[in-house]
Symmetry: C2
């Protein structure tokens, strides 16, 4: 009973992780309460993502090409003042953004595109081989920071990468474990508190 | 540090109710993991919403115009086999869809576009005047079903509409109260159980 264009919209937006058919309905009707130009601006925003945003061939983060530009590297990889001897391997783009916001890291990145999963055959999309090749081709790499969450999948991924990257001379590190800022000692779990004790400074 | 097109996308999508900046980031990067044509299809879907979907001038539900068409009424209002003597007033489009799915109602609708709020001045976008005009112009209207949720705002809206529609001869009804299908009598709240007792059949 719904018009085709609306059904098609709902079908597409229901595919987005975190948006179900119910929310896709709500989004469609919310958009339709606005004028045409407002809706067009959403269409243009998506078209610009498709046309202007590219994935860095070295670190797999995103960057925007200037008109007529033929860059293949992102602004971080292109920046000569970044520390070229360090690579922080992150699960996803938003983790890179969070690390950049700390302003405490001036090295390069590598977006893995996910974490290893205990389910066999689920890991083929991860940029692991690309990471190994990159380190092989860049012998100046001194440190590889495995900047994953300290979860089961993060630990598994770190373990696998340590195994794969063992042949290279670069030092492999992980993010420190400890008390998060603002947390109450009384209510910290034993693991976290134990780690905070061991990493005291 | 994010490319402009990406920032713009995130800014726009963060405005959608239920989507915050964090989810807008995730949606952007999820889209960017797909090929250009996949992204274009989302852009086209939004453009088609803007170009092809119109709002019925009588009931404020949506409909699609055929190419070159100049309809101003939705398929429900245009359908002569629907019962023209009944109007179900609903809060929003998705409520209309739910009622249609029951296949128990063959009358017309009126999408109010929200509910009355106890906060003064928040009700100016509701299609209340349009409803009153419509009933005035359609003296064949015999029943107006106020198909709102039985919540504080739904009750307030029903009360206000009953007051406004009093001058018309049409009978005003609301949706029945009772036990929802599958609910356990033991755990039903007193109100619901009391209502179920009163509406027993």
């Amino acid at each position: 009973m719904l018009p085709y264009s609306l059904t098609r919209f709902i079908e597409l937006f229901s595919k987005i992780p975190g948006i179900g058919p119910r929310q896709a309905h709500r989004i469609a009707f919310w958009l339709l309460r606005h004028d045409k130009n407002f809706l067009y601006s959403y269409g243009f925003a998506i078209r610009d993502l498709a046309d202007k945003i590219h994935v860095c061939r070295q670190c797999f983060f995103v960057f925007e090409t200037t008109s007529g530009g033929s860059e293949t590297l992102c602004t971080i990889c292109r920046n000569p003042s970044r520390d070229q001897t360090r690579i922080a391997v992150v699960e996803k783009e938003t983790d890179l953004i969070s690390i950049e916001k700390t302003k405490q890291y001036a090295g390069l990145y590598h977006v893995l595109g996910g974490l290893f999963s205990p389910i066999e055959g689920n890991n083929h999309d991860l940029k692991v081989q690309e990471l190994a090749n990159r380190i092989r081709e860049n012998p100046q790499t001194q440190e590889i920071i495995l900047a994953f969450s300290h979860t089961a999948e993060g630990d598994l991924t770190a373990m696998e990468l340590e195994r794969i990257l063992k042949p290279f001379p670069a030092h492999i590190t992980r993010l420190g474990l400890g008390l998060p800022r603002g947390a109450d000692v009384e209510f910290a779990d034993e693991d976290t508190l134990g780690n905070a004790l061991q990493s005291r400074r």
